[in-house]
């Protein structure tokens, strides 16, 4: 509780760092925020072309020419936020080492801008996605508010993983590379680009262990079937987030003194 009060006191710092991050990303570039969109757009374009046209991938049971694009965009945009939080968090203590060594402030404040910037980027993408849905007549209606639950679970999980990694990264710089590879594996181990039905039965069973799967599937339910998904399947990823979160707090507490010495 006290930590939360402190964090609120330092909201100005969180805002300043968030603004700084956004400004850094866009100053000096001609197209500015457009780059934020162009990268995932190109990805979506390639996947849509390759999978839905060349490979003739069809989503079973749904008969719209845009269905695959909706399927893909839902997953890619949500995954993008998860990935950004993990990737930005893991190096945050090292990145702000200069500040951490010189000034004492609640270190967890540093994660607020990470989430805020990721959320900002996500909202920009989501807004365009919604425009696309409205234009194609595929907008899910009120069911869209049900997306808050799976997205929240994704953010919590990413944050827990990010906090834990940020403490370890101070000592083990290789973690950065390892995480990038693992994220790749998890991305392809989640039915984002492909529908899960193309996998053999036993592989589908294995994928159930992937905690990213349930939230993504919930989102698919919302945006493809326009239905409010059940909350129960989110219990497993939430539990994973909680366990990782507890481990993160333990790691952080045990290592805090050593982190200050090591930075």
């Amino acid at each position: 509780m006290k930590t939360l009060v402190d964090m609120w006191r330092f909201r100005g710092l969180a805002r300043a760092i968030a603004e700084r991050d956004l400004r850094m990303r866009y100053t000096g570039s001609v197209l500015g925020p457009l780059w934020l969109l162009l990268q995932p757009l190109s990805m979506v374009l390639v996947y849509t072309l390759v999978f839905s046209q060349l490979m003739r991938a069809r989503l079973p049971g749904i008969d719209s020419s845009f269905a695959y694009s909706v399927y893909l965009l839902t997953g890619v945009i949500s995954w993008g936020m998860f990935q950004e939080i993990v990737q930005r968090s893991k190096g945050i203590l090292v990145e702000h080492g200069n500040l951490i060594k010189k000034v004492s402030f609640p270190r967890l404040v540093l994660f607020v801008p990470v989430v805020a910037v990721a959320a900002f980027n996500f909202l920009v993408m989501a807004a365009l996605f919604i425009i696309f849905l409205l234009l194609t007549g595929l907008f899910p209606g009120w069911a869209i508010f049900a997306a808050i639950a799976p997205l929240g679970v994704l953010v919590l999980m990413a944050l827990a993983i990010g906090v834990m990694l940020s403490a370890l990264q101070v000592f083990f710089r290789d973690i950065g590379q390892v995480v990038d590879i693992v994220l790749q594996l998890v991305f392809w181990g989640t039915p984002i680009v492909y529908p899960i039905t193309i996998l053999p039965e036993h592989a589908q069973r294995w994928l159930e262990w992937n905690p990213i799967m349930a939230p993504i599937r919930s989102l698919h339910t919302i945006f493809l079937e326009h239905q409010v998904p059940a909350l129960a399947p989110l219990g497993y990823p939430l539990a994973v987030a909680a366990v990782v979160g507890i481990v993160a707090v333990y790691v952080y507490r045990r290592l805090y003194g050593a982190i200050l010495d090591e930075l």
Binding site: R15, F105, V251
Partner: protein
Amino acid sequence: MTALNLLHDTTDTQPAAPRVAPILRAINLGKAYAPGRGRQVAMRRLFSTKAEDKTDLRWVFRNVSFDIARGEAIGIIGINGAGKSTLLKLLTATAMPTEGSVECTGEIAALLELGMGFHPDFTGRQNAYLSGQTQGRTRAQIDSVIDAIREFAEIGDYFDLPLRTYSSGMGVRLAFSVATAFRPDILVVDEALAVGDAYFQHKSFARIRQFLDEGTTLLFVSHDPSAIKSLCNRALLMGSGELLMDASPDDVLDYYNAMIAERTLAHEKAATPESFDGRSGNGKARYDAVDLVAPRTGVVNQGIFRVGEPMTVRLTYTAHEALPDLVAGVLIKNRVGADAFGTNTWFLGIKEIGEQAGVQRVIEFQFEQLNLGPGSYSIAVALHRDMNHLAENYDWWERAAIFTVVLPSVATHFIGTAALPLKVVVDPVAIGAGVATPATTGTASDPTS
């Protein structure tokens, strides 16, 4: 996260003491760095269930305890590597103690090791905001002082240029201005000011003094004895892995200088046995000892004197044969070796100091008022025949003693090597009105009065 709470905890967990609770307490503080690489340390911390083995730690210091009361000005002294900066880091919670604890009940503003975590790509203004926000200030609060920060730093248009374009001096100017934009309960300054130029140093010292008057507690690390003497009312001496001394700045500095002198002496002896050490002469007469005598502390090897204090140079010498024309001389040189003052017994008309062969005698040059400007000085002493040492040089001893002159705490400041007694009169009656005379107080004189 105890570290975070240190700074912002306003509740005093100690049982109510009859005296005023200290604003900052160090309780049995110790800091050590574990051997081995950081990742080994991390693995041990994460997976070892045993209590940490303290035997093979490299201790910076241990068992450091002190209480600091509100409004005290503490100087922290010690040679390089004594742990001064580490101590400040523990006190400001930018490092965790290995043992012991820190209790702090005030807001700290710290200027540690040049800079306050500034970002090189951001302008001075942006860094000022960021820095204020790391102290938990709101944007509106910083808005209200940003112009004052800009004005105090006096870096002109650089204020809106990226920090990487700054000189190190400008960085310090900005850092000091930002750190002192709000009056903190505790101000911590770690040698940072040494980088600034004399003008800015004076300006920042003036601000520190003003804060002290208003009740701020000061923790100040410096190698400049005059700064410590004039700002602080208490000093801590760090060394040999512990807190060596906790006393008045005078006592601590005297002890520290004696300690340094011993080290230097031991070092020089080890390095150059019997080689030239700034001493020459044919040895017919020779100094046995050169001592500086201060009125307060007696004989000091490397003394600190306030401007205008008495100082005695006590020369112990032996003439190894009868030397009727023996002359003893003293020459005070400033830090860069320029003569500040010199005289000898020939000029002073003192005769017959070398008649008795083989007898040790003492001659004292008693300066009633050491009217020298602040700084470091060395004394060369000589024994020679007649007016100067060109006739016959018995003994010439460069840097026989070294001393430092500091400004008395309440004195008006001045610059230069000479401390000229001065009285400033505005509109002296004898001359009448209309004579422009500089006023020391800086207030304009009224020509009609």
